[in-house]
């Protein structure tokens, strides 16, 4: 095997384009992912045109809420780019300087204060279906957050106004009486007066007023809670069933590294074995010089070794952009090694079927791409039966198991690393056997 390995390394070293691709590809992928993760705005860039007059307020009972605060809430949810006019905002959207523009109309305060006409914002965006979907989800989320924060402010103002109605007090600068009686104080006051009033029509009227005041105070008290419930009718409490919460950026790293591990390993193993056929050397080798098992093991191990080195370099490279737990590096290496071995076995199984390198590479590429895609389809995203089919395909090929092993090693995600390693070992043996059978049949 030593001489075969030496020969393959010599050939690999002389295939400059292939070596360049093997080195450049993961570096480029690592850099792209790293930049995309670390430099991408977590909040969308949005142009905001605030057409409301300075100092505009919304009247909530005796309270006033500044409209400018709504813009402030919106600013906190996006990367705001100020635009003075709608035309300027449209221009920024067209030039892709911003993802979208939000126009806060001048009559927003009047509409909210009227409580009869709903206030409206204008969202301006551009682009293809994908960009539109992103804008809709991101802008809607930002506006929902801003709306929620603003409605909480209005709720608080309304609650203060209700408190004043219930308990009385000083209304402040609105020119109202200085010491207003609260609704809750009226029934005891009236009962004291009723006690001193002789029976008759006046007393009966006072008793009706006292009963009404008591009823009103009781219900007005409840309305504060009703306001809070209407503002945010349902709160969300999340429960994760398995594993720990995985940050999206480290999961993206794991996906990128797994994809590179698969492509480099499967292409190398399949191409390496097909090369023996293309050079007509297979017959010469297997007539007693090298056993078929040794030949398959050599190709698989060479591909696994190269892809292992490339994938680890990539993981370490992306580590410059994303915080990874380096104390778990031993587990990363184990996960990468098992993944590489399983991909190596898959690669030689593909190579055993192909007569030339180009056919093997094409076959490897055509098989690998959908495997990566299918493994990332989340449960519930497609029909139940179709998902079962996807899960079966993902189970019998090594990509998903490799992704889960690396995710467990890097992010402590579930299923456990041991389970994924066992799965990968099983797949490596199964594809090794398939490769052996395929090689015999192809001869």
């Amino acid at each position: 095997m030593r001489w075969l390995l030496r020969k393959d390394l010599l050939i690999l070293g002389r295939s400059r384009l292939l070596v360049a691709l093997l080195i450049v590809y993961p570096v480029v992928i690592a850099l792209l992912i790293g930049f995309a993760i670390s430099r991408s705005p977590s909040r969308p860039r949005v142009a905001i045109v605030d057409e409301t007059p300075p100092g505009a307020t919304i009247q909530v009972g005796s309270e006033r809420v500044s409209v400018g605060q709504y813009a402030q809430h919106l600013f906190s949810q996006v990367q705001p780019v100020r635009a003075t006019t709608r035309a300027q905002a449209v221009s920024k959207v067209k030039s892709a300087e911003v993802l979208a523009a939000v126009v806060i109309p001048p009559d927003i305060a009047a509409r909210v204060s009227s409580a009869t006409r709903q206030a409206e914002l204008e969202v301006i965006y551009n682009g293809d279906a994908l960009e539109q979907a992103i804008v809709q989800s991101q802008i809607n989320a930002a506006l929902a957050q801003a709306n929620l924060a603003f409605s909480e402010q209005i709720q608080r103002a309304a609650a203060r106004a209700i408190d004043l109605l219930l308990r009385g007090g000083n209304l402040g600068a609105l020119g109202a009486p200085g010491n207003l009686i609260g609704l809750e104080e009226i029934p005891p006051l009236l009962h004291r007066i009723i006690a001193r009033t002789p029976a008759g029509a006046d007393r009966a009227s006072l008793e009706r007023v006292a009963t009404f005041a008591g009823f009103a105070a009781q219900n007005l008290n409840i309305s504060k809670n009703v306001l809070a419930t209407v503002g945010q009718p349902i709160r969300v409490r999340s429960t994760l069933l398995r594993g720990r919460r995985t940050p999206l950026n480290t999961f993206a790293v794991v996906v990128a590294v797994s994809v590179s591990l698969m492509f480099v390993c499967v292409l190398l193993a399949a191409g390496g074995l097909a090369l023996e056929r293309e050079e007509h050397a297979l017959g010469r080798l297997v007539r007693g010089l090298v056993s078929r098992e040794t030949l398959l093991a050599e190709k698989g191990l060479l591909a696994a070794g190269c892809s292992f080195a490339v994938a680890f370099a990539m993981l370490a490279g992306v580590g410059a952009f994303v915080t990874l737990d380096w104390s778990r590096v031993g587990l990363w290496l184990v996960a990468l090694a098992f993944g590489a071995l399983a991909f190596g076995a898959l690669g030689v199984a593909i190579g055993a079927l192909a007569r030339e390198v180009r056919a093997a590479s094409l076959l490897a590429f055509l098989l690998s791409l959908p495997l990566a895609f299918l493994a990332l389809v989340p449960a519930g995203a497609v029909a139940h039966g179709f998902y079962d089919a996807i899960a079966t395909v993902s189970f019998i090929f090594p990509f998903k198991a490799s992704l889960q092993a690396l995710d467990a090693a890097v992010n402590r995600a579930s299923p456990s690393l041991g389970l994924s390693l066992l799965h990968l070992a099983g797949l490596a043996i199964a594809f090794g056997v398939l490769a052996r059978v395929g090689l015999r049949r192809a001869e």
Binding site: W3, I11, R14, H280, G283, R284, R287, G288, L289
Partner: protein, 241 residues
Amino acid sequence: MSAALSVRAVSKQFGELQALRDVSFDVVAGELVAVIGPNGAGKTTLLSIVAGVQPPSSGTVSRGPAEVGWAPQQPALYTRLSVAENLELFAHLEKVEDPRAAVERMLEQTGLRGRAAERVGRLSGGNRQRVNVALGLIGDPPVLALDEPSASLDPAQRERLWVFIAGLARAGRAIVFSTHNVAEAQRYAGRVIVLADGRMLFDDTPAALLREAGEPDSGDLERALVKFLEDRASSPEAGAR
């Protein structure tokens, strides 16, 4: 003289297809034996069984793969390696005692010393075929099996290759080769084996085949072969000779 190679009752079946039927012959040291016949006769199958590339369905070959040098029809070489690197690799795989000396010897014999460092992919077809044969000889086997060694070579390259092969036979190697070029068999082989539909129909000298077909000794062996096969087709009960 004892046989350097004995093939006894070799048959080969591929599914429904009977590629070889009960083929037997001997080759002695220094003999150059040509296997001729129409397309699909079983020539390549016979040579690959002799070389140990594939096992027979039944029958025996007296030599194991390690004792038979093999040069397939398509040069089995690594085109990105140099001539010397190809020779060195197979010298190691053949577990030759002194690989470096074996490489030197083969470079000398093939006349490729001046091109030892050149990548095989840049060699002419004739030189590639020389390296192909040299790889078969690297383990110094007593028997050499060559499958259509001169196919796709120009006349000058063919001539040089046959001079080289004839020299190997003179040095004492038993050589079995298949060819479509019957004139080559007439010119270089001491014996011809005629195969058709997997059956061995003839095993004797080229002159005997000419006589069998009613041609004069100086006649054309290709014409004689065609006539011989036509005669056999019209009287299939005739046995091999």
